[in-house]
């Protein structure tokens, strides 16, 4: 959480007018395309702290509701608002959370903006709001990519379309195309000091940060897209407390010239899934909601809710009475696809023109505070990289920590806090089903994914399976039979 490598904070390089907050006129809809053309001329990351913040300068102790309207958007800049509010847990209780939102909202807002709707920084300098990427690619119905056709050599299996399907992304996702410049303007609407840090996104894997942003203040952070992969943005203040309260998200860097690969020259995939895990401690939330400061040593975290892409239990599994919620779970989290013949020596093979012998990519990101063990039933996953470092395919080693550095099959993927893993789920025929059962399959086959640190399988102390869960599904050709 060190910010020693952060760019110099130069408040004087930003004029006061740049920082002024102008109410947005009613009717301006920021929810679609934010197309501002070329970026303004910011040379480096800049931040404005208390020195230029009228609110903190005036000594206003709390800033709730301070930002009653969005600032005037700047071209090529994504505005993030540090908000607070109450979010509904899977048992319908309401828990205080903070987050980086799209618009300023007040504490008592019925729908606080605590998670950014997915945005894309394009190489052309635009900021585009879109739940799917690549832009313009076919949208997989209900999240499921349809195959190109049957694989005659492998009964019950299919050819997979190459470079075709878009992927859905969950809230909190910021996609950055390689070659793009990220420009974030962060507004702190809360009473305490906060900051936005992008872990390991600078050269040498050091952090990038706005530096502390005073209450009511704002900061600008500009940087070039780092190497392809996943990066956690979060508030490192009093770590891990502010992160655990919800101040986190993921930046996913993709090469727009080859957006169906985990990274350049790495595995090709049919579509990808971004999974963020999060564990919520309601005691921590209560302390901070009341204006207190959690001491993580004297108040050790005891998380009570465990989320995958901000859903848990039957809501994460798409079994809730809320159909909209179920649809989002299917599109963003619940892996699905048709079975295919794969050879892990060659994910991405062009079997016939336009087809792919590959699986789907699962990018697991843990900005939370618990060490998760992501267990898949039905298929082992092929782990390709950790924290954006490619694992070799030969001559691996065991690192000083005791972790194997070599691409490998796993049915449990270790995901400690702040870790990211990129894996391929092959969506292959489950290997230990008998031939007769496989060849007579008439239904979709659904398998659980869950964290095997079983405390995470609860909600409010019980209600198994109420925590960090998902399904993945092998679709059948005679669907819905």
């Amino acid at each position: 959480m060190s910010s020693e490598n952060t760019p110099a904070i130069t408040p004087s390089s930003v004029s006061d007018t740049d920082s002024a907050l102008h109410p947005v006129e009613p009717g301006i809809n920021r929810s679609t395309l934010l197309k501002f053309g070329a970026a303004t001329a910011w040379g480096t990351a800049v931040a404005m702290g208390a020195a230029v913040s009228p609110v903190s300068a005036a000594g206003v102790p709390r800033a709730h509701g301070r930002f009653t309207a969005s600032a005037v958007p700047l071209p090529g800049v994504l505005d993030l608002y540090i908000n607070e509010g109450y979010t509904k847990m899977v048992d319908d209780s309401l828990v205080y959370q903070r987050g980086f939102g799209d618009r300023p909202t007040a504490l008592r807002d019925a729908r606080p903006s605590l998670r950014v709707v997915p945005k894309i920084f394009t190489r052309e300098g635009q900021v585009v709001e879109s739940r799917t990427y690549p832009l313009g690619a076919a949208i997989p119905p209900n999240g499921t990519p349809a195959p190109a056709g049957a694989d005659p050599a492998n009964p019950g299996q299919f050819f997979i379309r190459r470079n075709h399907w878009a992927s859905f992304f969950p809230q909190r996702t910021i996609i950055v195309e390689s070659g793009a410049t990220v420009r974030l303007r962060v507004f702190n609407g809360l009473a305490g000091t906060h900051q936005l840090t992008v872990a390991q996104a600078a050269h040498g894997r050091s952090d990038l940060s706005t530096g502390p942003i005073a209450p009511g203040g704002q900061a600008l952070l500009e940087f070039d897209a780092p190497y392809a992969g996943t990066y956690i943005y979060y508030d490192p203040t009093n770590a891990p407390v502010q992160r655990a309260l919800g101040l986190f998200g993921t930046i996913l860097v993709m090469d727009p010239d080859d957006p169906w690969r985990v990274a350049p020259n790495q595995m090709a995939f049919e579509r990808q899934w971004l999974w963020m895990t999060h564990a919520i401690d309601t005691t921590w939330a209560r302390i901070e909601a009341a204006g207190g400061t959690v001491n993580p040593l004297t108040d050790p975290a005891v998380p009570r809710y465990f989320m995958l892409n901000d859903r848990s239990g039957y809501e994460a599994l798409g079994h809730s009475p809320n159909r909209e919620l179920n649809r989002l779970a299917h599109e963003e989290s619940l892996i699905s696809g048709y079975p295919r013949q794969v050879d892990i020596r060659n994910f991405g093979e062009d079997l016939a023109l336009g087809t792919l012998r590959g699986g789907q990519a699962v990018r697991m990101v843990n900005p939370g505070i618990a060490s998760h063990q992501m267990h898949f039933h039905g298929n082992h996953l092929w782990t390709v990289r950790r924290n954006n470092v490619e694992w070799p395919r030969e001559f691996g080693h065991v690192d000083a920590d005791g972790h194997v550095v070599l691409q490998q099959w796993e049915d449990v993927i270790e995901l400690p806090p702040m870790d990211r893993k990129d894996c391929i789920i092959p969506l292959k025929r489950p290997p230990d089903a008998t031939d007769k059962v496989w060849y007579n399959r008439t239904e979709d086959w659904k398998y659980p994914m869950h964290c095997h640190a079983e405390m995470s399988q609860t909600a409010a102390g019980g209600m198994y399976p109420g925590g960090l869960v998902a399904h993945w599904e092998l679709k059948s050709q005679v669907n819905g039979g």
């Binding site: 509904k88 194997v404 398998y447």
Partner: protein, 499 residues
Amino acid sequence: MRLRGWAAPSATVVSEGKRRSDDDDKKKSSTKRRDDKSPGPRERQKPKPSPSKSPRPQPSRSATPSSQPSATRSATPSPTPAPGTTGPTPTRSSTPTPRPTRPSPSSDDDGEEREYDSQADFASHQMQQDAPETHFLETPQLSVDLDLSSRDLRFPDGAKFKMWVFHQDSSGRGFPGPTLRPTEKGIFHARVEPSMGPHSIHWHGMEPDPRNDGVGHTSFEIDDHYTYQWQPEPGRTHDPNYGAAGTYFYHCHVNTPLHAQMGLLGPLIIDPIELPGFPVAPGNRRAFADGPEYDIATESLIMPFSIDPRWHKMGHAAGLSGEDVGLNRFEPTHFYITGGLLAQRRETGEEVWAPTQLPINVSGHGKAPSLMRFLDGNYLPNKITFVNPDGTPARIAELVSHDGRPYRHTATPGAPAIPTSMHPDPSAHLFTHTLSMGSAERYDLLLHPPTAGTYTLRIEWRDWITGHKLAHRELPLLASCVLKGPGNQTYTRLGPQLG
């Protein structure tokens, strides 16, 4: 097929004990005690809304977030049609055009499941079936019967805990459950008849069809009995896409946090088929079909396990109806190294299988190396270290497999994927003195101590949130060149340490 409710919130310890006192006899009688079973849905407890301790926001507008649980609808579950008793209708598997998935918000993808009113409704209404049918039953090469019992078992430190254990008719009532050891390619059957309420078995790491995967919310929990059937995929020479041989475990997948901690798990090892070109010397086995040979007599399973005594006083449906039973808090106070020499395991009596020391072979003295199958059997991260007789780190462990899959070189498409442990270049081999893992991971290690002497396996438990060390335990590894036979008491005192 039907949905049934769980019993009322956690039974007291007393009633649990009473109910289980005769569990071993129950399956012999034709009248299985129904009063042990959950009441029907009409009797189930309405889930309690969990009161929010957080202050409610005061919504400014009408868009109030639903802060109240929605009223429970009719408690009668929508009956779901049972699959045909003769199994699914065979279809031409080469149907040319798949029907693409339609986004159908009106029903879940398979159309069979209902939606649930609340998380408590979902948790307390997992799919349960009395006696589901095994589709396409075949003649097994290995068949086992498993039931479960409740026993107060004494652990190596003398502490006694109520444990629920899987057992066979012939076995004792010990922990962990019986070691199951099918061979690749052979049909495996496990007939499970749980005496105490609905349970299931998930064959962790094995990948059969969902009906044989043992999870309530993707298939069913077993009320009366079911025969699981699967067939471990055989390995192929230098092919990274095939082969099941390796280390697994089985565990109950009903109210899993509680049931696995209560002891409903056991070792599952898949032995390889024999491939042409990979003969096996007498006394040896291969770790996987094209993998290295190891010495059968000194093959071990080592499983760290820890116990939070508070969890061992709950009823088996604890928490499912929405009550807060604190299953998010696993605070173990007792830490154990369980397992031992596989060839020496006695599955009799009521004991905890735990080693006091372990014999291993010195490298290069005519014997194949010893294989240690390591399984993180609890819910916390483990870090293990091998230590030399002089106290320095011992780089004697060679990782050969993980989660039932060998480590291989896979850089060249179409080229043989040589296992790292079989590679002619010594630098390909994955040697280490230390290994980090978390819950449910398995690692197979060949041990190569260079000289005779007492090495140490040190196992640390770490907090799953802070990463702080919670405890450690040590196991002496006695490296010897002239290991005697199984009768050598020096090396085979592996029973429970009573008192």
